[in-house]
Subunit: 475 residues, 3 copies
């Protein structure tokens, strides 16, 4: 029965935990960069790594100027516990960290690493054909405005969908949306749906890479140049996810149940969901190939994407489900990823070089639905506390666990609103870039490769000359 | 004079330390994957990375179902401190985490990362020729049964070789085996000997890669395709080892001496042992080459393996030896690695692409012997507490430090029993797989490469076409 | 108002924070290794990775024997708080960890990782032409003597330039040098200036790589073989820097303001400075290229170096400046890096394959000057405590913030003394190596590549044969 801060120094300890978790999330930028680099052709490796680097660099500037303010710029309580104003849709303080208390710097840093992660998802979907300058414009829009608003909705105690609302932070007609609010622990919405839906808009409007479909519209395989780098990225992302999910407690000491128990259950859930999704993806893909072509193929790249899909799916419900449920969520995430990927490619004819839409949007939607199905009452109340509706009530929980459908309703509204918000802003934005003729490189540049055209030369210059050991200056 | 939990929240803090250490150990999977990928030929890179990925994925499922239960499924003490049953050889509770208290989830996660590390060692020894399906069968056997039993012997307080046994956990004829029990701090036995001896069985029964020996039986050099990836793996493993060794305190606050002092000494020992082993391997190999061929060669791959050998050797005794002893242990580990590697290759004609047997089994055996030689009484009692034999007695310690031979006896029994257990199970198991004709790929597949045959294509597709920049679809 | 150690266990917690930060700094070795490997030609990849590996291995042995002793071998206070001797210029206890208290092992480890980082900087500047044996001699000199002395000056409470001096640790004519002492929080001096100035001496005396300049003395572009590895290195280094800078508090609990607030502000400053420097480098380089050649080039390698330059620049002042100042420091660091790099290459005709001089020496000098300009009084006193000159005085702070020029004076003396110390030792040392004919490889070896000549073969053997998939033994 320990309240945070009850013992001097515990706030410091929790801040240290949060900082270190943020370092791991930041390291996911390295994972994305390697994942993307390996998954594109060698001629575009420098381009996509630069996009990933700028997701962190330009992203931090955008987060500094408006991003954090829109997401977490909430009012401070007066001495009597009331607030001068309410902000259910968007925050509006702390622009450029102005008046931000030093105790909140750790939150600024931690949340920045999440925003940068969300932004970087799109780099994969638009790879190998998007103009560099347009990507910078996209990045600014996403981190400055699109991501922060969704983060505010669900993570600010004032947010209209937040499960952390209480009688003090609420001025409107309801306390918790749908009687439950949304249980999105580590960001299936702000990070993965936002990144995934923006990927959908970008890849669709940008059109497929040259040669990705034949004259009949059938996809032609276009493998990345380096499977080792690709999988290095998967391992680094998985490692970084231990900052993303268990670190999102933002505390290790305190709360009635003890934050370490929550974080440990999340670490276990994160692990088994990723593992189960990797396995189901691997075996399902093998089976599909076998029954359609008679050949047994154990596809490494697909398996790696499956692991990422499992990590995405468990991100939202990780603190609220039992381990067995996390395994089920992972197993289905593999199937969701495969179906979403095939619908994208074969039905919608969308060329998404990294399968970012299927992994991030697809599995995040599944994750939120699964959370509405499997959320365990005890775990929900361990984290969010008792129901704010009074002593005789409980928090809403998963419909498979006997909790009814209110939570599912909230989650479906959440999914729809994020889709509308992201597609409603990014769709027209990308369309305007396209109309201005600055969204996509010329066919000549695309054929020659972005690196030789815009980035000063090939990532592996000796491969171009064909002389592995020698180099032109050495003769 | 602080007991864990004396201050509310300290259990949480220690759980946080353990979780974060577990993340680092998990990251060793990335290190092994890159180490192995770089050390094999390009045509098998995807295969071996997939094996490493499945060590984590399939491994976590096996750990969930039986692994943790066999290793740590011990009884709970009754109110009077007694136990309803004893389990000196194998645990048998908590299958599928059933009835596992939430406070133990952190242990489950931390110990899972160790089991996955042990399993992944074998992927290197059987690389480039083992059938994918057989590797999955091996993996299941190792993580479900072989590893957990050894872990139980030495790390469960009921284990027959454990130095943590006490009057309450013991029902048999002795308190501590050989009067000392085994001092294996971070797992030279369960992880490195298990993985190393299983590697020995696997590589031997599988036979050498095609072309590894000439007609006269002399080895032909068969270098890996990417030394940069190989060494990236070494650095990542070394980094992850700071979770493996200092993290195995499972606590940073508490104990009479203060856990942070123990962890800090371990971090120092881990560092200097790795460094000394790397140096001794590098210089010894150079000297051998120079005296046999007159040429000076500073071999990077060997030096990297030497560093890993030093890390393996110090894993068992890291908490019990002074820094100067850790340096000696490292220096000799380099020699042990070189000798073991040459015996394997030249005498036993075993083809071990990663030198996994020499690095893991060889240096782990040396580490346990070295622990019996150099264990410092003060450090032993700082960690294990005072002797359970009564006030006038001390714990056993290193024979070079004046402690007599009982500890060496215990460690030799430990080595022999692990060898017998692992070889006794995995030898027949691999042999059956061989007899069933499913252990090794066909010569045609081996020549063509596993990636093109079973994994949907080459890891670096543009290298096959010889067009560094271009790709077939682009014309 | 919490003093460290006021609550039992807080010393342990702070030791854990410091250990974990040290792990991250150690991981920077992996970052440097990949950065360097990617930036050299394929034929020298193994050589430079081995140099980086030995920076950790040989470095730890040198740190063990004399390094730590020279840096931190200070006297222990007697019971009355006085000291038997003073050591303003160099420490001289704890050789080979002799008599080092166990509570100081964590400091030994953390500081070792810094020394190794400083040493590894030079590997980039002398890459592709330095003899392996000479590099070992350099490494021993740097870690055994050159680095520790500078660390002692500024970080020992007895150091003549330290801002942590107090009336008890001072025997001479002044309390704080220039009335302020030097504010070098995480090591712009000991790590980056020492490494950078040693790089300057090494690269200059060694001379440029064959073919780096044409007959007219104009530089010829000589790109590295793998931009993906290069940037992986940048990401890993940035990640590790979160151990380097925020970890240099060596505490997370305690102090009047709370160490977590200091660390969080440092993490934010580290992020935005790196980001701003990356952006300014990218855009400045683009603009220079555009105005001189009319071509738009977004240079990934330069942008990565720019991020590193920003990280170097903020290393010294990171705990003492506001976020907005960190952004300015980063923006200018990009320009400083570009100018220093061009002066080196075009004016001084120094061939520095990694731009180590510009990134480390150039941006570290800028960082210390920037610290003298932007240091915030409140942040300085939060960390160093109140002025030791008495109640009516304050600590010195930045001249732009209204603090006068004393701090700038101290920092200029610091820069000059480090330059003199490093160049005065390493210059003659390298010159002697050159005169002995052991500093540089022969032109034949340089053309053939160091790996084939000295390291047993090419890092990517299949590239030499031109057969991506096949290997000579397989026919």
């Amino acid at each position: 029965d320990l309240t945070i801060g009850a013992i001097p120094g515990y706030t410091d300890i929790n801040a240290g935990w949060t900082l270190q978790s943020g370092y791991l999330v930041f390291f996911m930028q390295a994972g994305f960069a390697m994942l993307c680099a390996g998954a594109v052709r060698a001629k575009n490796a420098k381009n996509i790594i630069l996009l990933n680097l700028l997701d962190a660099c330009l992203g931090s500037m955008c987060w500094y100027i408006t991003g954090f303010a829109f997401a977490f710029g909430d009012p401070t309580a007066a001495d009597d516990g009331t607030y001068a104003w309410y902000s259910p849709f968007i925050g509006h303080r702390f622009f450029a960290m102005n008046q931000l208390p030093r105790t909140s710097y750790v939150t600024w840093f931690f949340q920045f690493t999440f925003a940068a992660t969300g932004a970087t998802i799109v780099s994969g979907a638009v790879a190998e054909r998007c103009r560099f300058e347009s990507y910078l414009l996209y990045e600014m829009m996403l981190v400055s405005l699109v991501y922060p608003v969704v983060a505010h909705w669900v993570w600010s105690p004032f947010g209209w969908l937040s499960a952390g609302r209480n009688t003090a932070t609420v001025s409107g007609s309801y306390l918790l949306f749908s009687g439950s609010g949304v249980y999105d622990f580590a960001g299936d919405g702000p990070v993965h749906m936002v990144g995934g839906f923006a990927s959908l808009a970008g890849a669709w409007i940008l059109g497929p890479r040259l040669g990705r479909f034949d004259a009949a519209g059938n996809p032609i395989d276009m493998p990345g140049h380096n499977a080792s780098l690709n999988l290095l990225g998967v391992f680094v992302l998985w490692f970084g996810w231990y900052g993303f999910n268990p670190g999102s407690t933002n505390a290790i000491v305190g709360s009635a149940v003890g934050y370490s128990k929550i974080s440990a259950a999340i670490a276990v859930n994160t692990t088994v969901a990723a593992a189960a999704a990797c396995l189901s993806t691997l075996f399902l893909t093998m089976a599909i190939n076998y029954f359609t072509s008679g050949v047994i193929v154990w596809d490494l790249i697909i398996a790696g994407n499956g692991a990422l899909g499992g990590l995405v799916a468990i991100t939202g419900p990780c603190a609220f489900v039992q381990t067995w449920a996390a395994i089920i969520i992972g197993l289905f995430a593999g199937g969701v990823y495969i179906i979403a990927s095939r619908v994208n490619l074969n039905l919608l004819k969308i060329d998404d070089p990294l399968d970012a839409i299927a992994v991030h949007a697809g599995c995040a939607v599944w994750g939120m639905i699964a959370g509405a199905a499997f959320a365990d009452l005890g775990m929900v109340e361990d984290y969010y506390g008792a129901s704010p509706y009074g002593e005789d009530t409980t928090r809403e929980y998963g419909f498979i666990m006997g909790g009814g459908g209110k939570l599912l309703g909230a989650h479906l509204v959440y999914i729809i609103c994020i889709a509308a918000w992201v597609l409603g802003i990014m769709g027209p934005y990308f369309f305007i870039l396209k109309r201005l003729g600055i969204f996509r490189v010329s066919p000549e540049v695309e054929t020659a490769g972005l690196d030789a055209s815009y980035h000063g030369g090939h990532a592996y210059p000796h491969e171009v000359t064909g002389k592995g050991q020698a180099y032109k200056n050495e003769a």
